[in-house]
């Protein structure tokens, strides 16, 4: 190009971004630490317990990995939607309903067909339920341009209530006094890796994120979705079938969220209790944004926050800090990480 197009080297990009990541996290921890000090607790001890339990101790680390499984599926779903410019904030409803149906059919099926078949069917079922639950928002967006933030939020509210109705009436297990579905026996759940408590769902979760990352960044289908997401008018102009793609993006996203529900039930719970709503979406949505929809980044963030959840619970218990503090810490970290994202983004812009 012309002489005036300067070439800025990638010099020490790693170092820079490393600092960019570390500094704000430290800041967040310092602020959190101050709160602990005010509560008269020892911040260092607290953080040490968090790391020790969530990361360093083998059993704790297993717990962390297990916790990531549903988060990863939800994240995968969100990556698809967000890259396609669809703000699917309804993953929780899709997740929960799928979970309920999986729990309801899981153990009955297991009595009539082999375990592996039951598991496959449950995943397919979960995906289908999730997709179905995204149908109305998809229709309203594709055909009437109704903003999906509203509709997906509402479908989640409805979904949570509906899940309760299902659990309390049709799927209620008469054997238990508390309203919950039948329970899938431990040995019939997702097989575990070797003799750990880590079930295969964790691996599936990782794969699902990597898969959608590849799908969205390395295939024509993904690029089509991205174009639709970035500028629908341009998509129409380029001759893309925007409606169809919208349905597909919604369906895929919700299906993955639903499979997240399946993994949580088949891997950990074996049953769903009335009024259960882990609301993983609320945590994963910001993480996916922070990773700028990048698969690897998302995995890293999910792992980080899983450590925090598992470790934080333990640390709070040991130091007698109310568990609410973990929420505060999560909030702080998200905020400061948002600053990381921002600085990093600006810097990238300056270099490309």
């Amino acid at each position: 190009m012309t002489s005036r197009y300067i070439n800025i080297g990638r010099v020490s990009e790693l170092a820079r971004s490393a600092i960019r990541i570390i500094a704000p996290i430290l800041l967040a921890l310092v602020v959190g630490g101050l709160i602990l000090v005010i509560l008269g607790k020892d911040p260092i001890a607290y953080y040490w317990y968090v790391v020790k339990r969530g990361l360093l101790s083998w059993t704790g680390f297993q717990a962390t990995l297990v916790r990531t499984a549903p988060l990863l599926f939800v994240a995968a779903g969100l990556i698809v939607a967000f890259r396609a410019g669809i703000w699917n904030l309804g993953v929780d409803g899709q997740f929960l309903l799928a979970a309920v149906l999986v729990a309801a059919v899981g153990s009955p099926l297991n009595t009539i067909i082999p375990n592996w078949a039951m598991i496959c069917i449950c995943f397919i079922l979960a995906a289908t339920i999730g997709a179905i639950w995204s149908l109305i928002p998809a229709y309203l967006k594709a055909n009437h341009g109704v903003n999906e933030i509203i509709t997906t939020l509402m479908m989640t509210f409805i979904g949570i209530s509906l899940a309760n109705v299902l659990i309390k009436i049709p799927f209620n297990d008469p054997a238990t006094t508390v309203p919950q579905t039948v329970t899938l026996a431990v040995e019939d759940r997702l097989p575990r890796l070797f003799d750990t408590i880590i079930h295969h769902g964790v691996i599936l979760g990782l794969l699902s994120v990597l898969f959608v990352h590849f799908l969205m960044t390395r295939t024509s289908f993904g690029l089509n979705l991205q174009v639709v997401g970035a500028n629908p008018k341009a998509a129409v102009h380029a001759g893309l079938n925007v409606r169809f793609l919208t349905y597909v993006a919604f369906g895929l996203s919700a299906a993955l969220a639903g499979m997240g529900g399946a993994v949580e039930i088949l891997g950990v719970w074996g049953t769903v209790r009335a009024d259960w709503d882990p609301a993983y979406g609320l945590l994963v949505v910001p993480l996916v944004f922070l990773a700028r929809f990048h698969g690897i980044g998302t995995i890293a963030f999910v792992l980080f926050f899983a450590v925090l959840m598992i470790g934080g619970e333990s640390a709070s218990r040991r130091l007698g800090v109310p568990t609410f503090f973990v929420l505060v810490l999560v909030g702080l970290l998200l905020m400061f990480l948002a600053i990381v994202e921002y600085l990093d983004h600006r810097w990238r812009q300056r270099t490309t």
């Binding site: 339990r53 059993t59 704790g60 717990a63 297990v66 916790r67 209530s161 309760n164 054997a175 238990t176 006094t177 508390v178 919950q180 329970t183 431990v186 408590i197 950990v268 719970w269 074996g270 049953t271 209790r273 009335a274 009024d275 259960w276 709503d277 882990p278 598992i310 619970e313 333990s314 709070s316 218990r317 109310p322 568990t323 609410f324």
Partner: protein, 329 residues
């Protein structure tokens, strides 16, 4: 690993897991305090795990097991799937609630707490106290333990005076912490005529109390509140007529001793009037004569001459309420 535990020496620590902080003058607090008391009694280490919420407690259970808990009390109906699983996995004895059929020798025991006998007494008390001829039941949700008490309360009311109306209202799903909802619903119930409110619900019960304190009964008079599980006398403003107190110390105590005798998991545990693990709170607002009558009734129940059936099914509970009769008629 339960034979290893069959002598007192091997008992080291008791852990108790509760969904909210043990400061609610109710379910969580009673559980934590009782476990602490028992731990002290036997000189055991006490491992409280509060505010775990209703999510997955398996990680916490595993960790407690690792840290050498000899008994893990899962003090929430939400934990009674996870509890036994981890007991099997780790071999550490676990106690769960509301699952009488779930006993496993040496590993899993159950304590199904229901203050229904006490609630029956409360119902009688309410029937004697009401001026308007209507009493109300407000619950935050419909778990079995709530239900059985609602039913018993209703039966008590009817037993004392058949004409008394019983107004039943659930705040809403998962409304355990919905104080505003508690107040709103209670106010409606009061203005539907009730002047005695039997309230069950954790955070939301403070909303109910608030309503009772700030709303006049339809006759312009004072509204009374009957609480459950905990003793809110400390924070009462003169409306706390009574409370169906639950005392879990005897239950946990029995568990520990069974653990020592190696009989753990062979029987479930209840609370009841006989050992005062269920009892009515005697507030100064209860006239002596009524109190004596209640105490007689208590003895009859203990002796079995009066029996209160334990109804825990939501539909059955609603069937007992006045409004439904009217509906059917």
């Amino acid at each position: 690993g339960f034979s290893a535990l069959s002598s007192a020496a091997d008992l080291k620590a008791i852990a108790v897991l509760v969904p909210e902080q043990g400061t609610d003058y109710g379910w969580n607090q009673q559980g934590v305090d009782a476990a602490r008391a028992v731990a002290e009694k036997y000189g055991l280490e006490f491992m409280p795990a509060e505010g775990l919420g209703y999510g997955d407690v398996r990680p916490t259970l595993r960790e407690l097991a690792e840290e050498g808990a000899s008994l893990m009390i899962c003090h929430a109906s939400g934990y009674n799937t996870a509890g036994p699983e981890i007991a099997q996995e780790t071999g550490v004895p676990v106690a769960i609630v509301d699952t009488p059929q779930g006993l496993v020798e040496g590993l899993v025991t159950d304590y199904t707490l229901s203050g229904h006998d006490g609630a029956y007494l409360a119902g009688v008390l309410a029937a004697h106290t009401t001026r308007t001829g209507s009493v109300g039941i407000v619950v935050s949700g419909e778990p079995p333990s709530w239900n059985s008490q609602s039913a018993a309360f209703a039966m008590g009311v009817k037993a004392a005076s058949d004409s008394t109306k019983i107004i039943y209202a659930v705040i809403g799903p998962a409304a355990y912490g919905d104080a505003a909802g508690g107040r709103r619903v209670t106010e409606s119930v009061i203005s539907a005529g009730a002047d005695v409110i039997f309230g069950q619900g954790n955070g939301s019960s403070f909303g109910m109390i608030q309503a009772v304190e700030t709303t006049k009964a339809v006759d312009g008079g004072k509204v009374w509140f009957i609480d459950v599980i905990g003793d809110k006398t400390e924070i009462d403003k003169g409306h706390l007529l009574s409370s169906v107190l639950w005392d879990m110390v005897p239950v946990y105590d029995a568990m520990v001793s069974d653990l020592m005798d190696g009989t753990f998991g062979t029987r479930g545990y209840q609370i009841g009037l006989e050992n005062d693990s269920v009892r009515l709170l005697k507030s100064p607002h209860i006239p002596a004569n009524i109190w004596n009558e209640l105490m007689d009734l208590r003895d009859k129940i203990i002796s079995g001459s009066v029996s209160v059936d334990n109804i825990s099914d939501a539909q059955a509970v609603r069937a007992l309420m006045t409004s439904v009769d009217i509906n059917e008629g």
